[in-house]
């Protein structure tokens, strides 16, 4: 079994990205905070073929559904899986844009 690691929610991801673990102790990452939005977006496709929830398929029939994992690869070599965080980021951006456009309308 692996060492005990803390689990955190995807919303707190930007905070946790700047923690680095060396010798099993937590330290702040050197060189300033990591901005996930600026890191390069990568994807990896895996599959979900004939899952047991879908019942027993006809013999010889294989139905595969692609599952996409999204990653952000940053300059210092860090790879962060953002499959759960990207929707949160898009929602926040949409909210921010809506707030900005409504404030523009108000000021006019």
């Amino acid at each position: 079994m692996a060492p005990l690691v803390p689990i955190f929610s995807a919303e707190a991801l930007p905070d946790h990205v700047s923690i680095v673990r060396k010798n099993f102790q937590e330290r702040r990452r050197k060189g300033g905070p990591v901005e996930l939005e600026k890191c390069k977006l990568m994807e990896m496709v895996q599959y979900s073929c004939n899952p047991p929830q879908d019942g027993i398929p006809a013999p010889g029939v294989v139905v595969c559904k692609p599952v996409v994992r999204l990653f952000r690869r940053c300059a210092n070599g860090l790879t962060v899986e953002t499959t759960a965080w990207e929707p949160i980021r898009l929602e926040e951006e949409a909210k921010r844009k809506a707030a900005e456009s409504s404030s523009k309308v108000n000021s006019k």
Binding site: S9, M44, S48, V62, K65, L78, T79, T83
Partner: protein, 178 residues
């Protein structure tokens, strides 16, 4: 026939037999060392890496130079000693290297990221996942595995010949438009 037998008996001096056994043992040891440190071929089994590998079994070419995680990146398929079963090897794709962050899903889940939980891969460990998510027993079951368990990188499928191809690293720049 009897002439061949007489010839070999004449050559079978104690010194000659000793040299022959020494050469034989040396050759066996050299082959074992190559098999363990350079290159290996093994038959796979199981549905956890479909469609990359056939569930009926493919013969895979494994580079032993990459043991203990040397030169491994996210997206490579690695072979490792199974953490929970002695004497068995597992083959899965690397999702996270030490220090990276990965989504923590329930075992045998068909989707990624649904539970909104994330962990950081501890140092010296890798997080592995099979390509056929609902049929793969991987790090969602037994947690990140120590890199010391990795004994090679799977680089190609060599048999059946019609399907011989290199095993790709499927991590690539995103092609979505959002």
């Amino acid at each position: 026939m009897s002439r061949i037998l007489r010839e070999t008996l004449r050559r079978a001096t104690p010194g000659g037999v000793f040299r022959l056994t020494l050469d034989g043992v040396g050759l066996f040891c050299a082959c074992t060392l190559i098999w363990e440190h350079l290159i290996t071929v093994q038959l796979s089994e199981g549905p956890s890496m479909y469609p990359t590998f056939n569930p009926r079994g493919d013969y895979l070419l494994i580079s032993r130079v990459h043991k203990h995680g040397r030169g491994i990146e996210v997206g490579d398929v690695v072979r490792f000693y199974h953490p929970t079963f002695l004497g068995v090897n597992g083959a899965k794709r690397v999702i996270g290297m030490p220090g990276d962050f990965v989504c923590r899903d329930l075992p045998f889940s068909t989707e990624v990221g649904k539970s909104q939980e994330m962990i950081q891969v501890p140092e010296g460990h890798v997080y592995v996942g099979g390509d056929n998510l609902p049929w793969s027993r991987d790090s969602r079951n037994y947690g990140p595995i120590p890199m010391g368990l990795i004994n090679g990188k799977i680089i190609a499928r060599v048999w059946p010949l019609s399907k011989a191809q290199w095993v790709q690293n499927t991590m690539q720049p995103a092609q979505l438009d959002d």
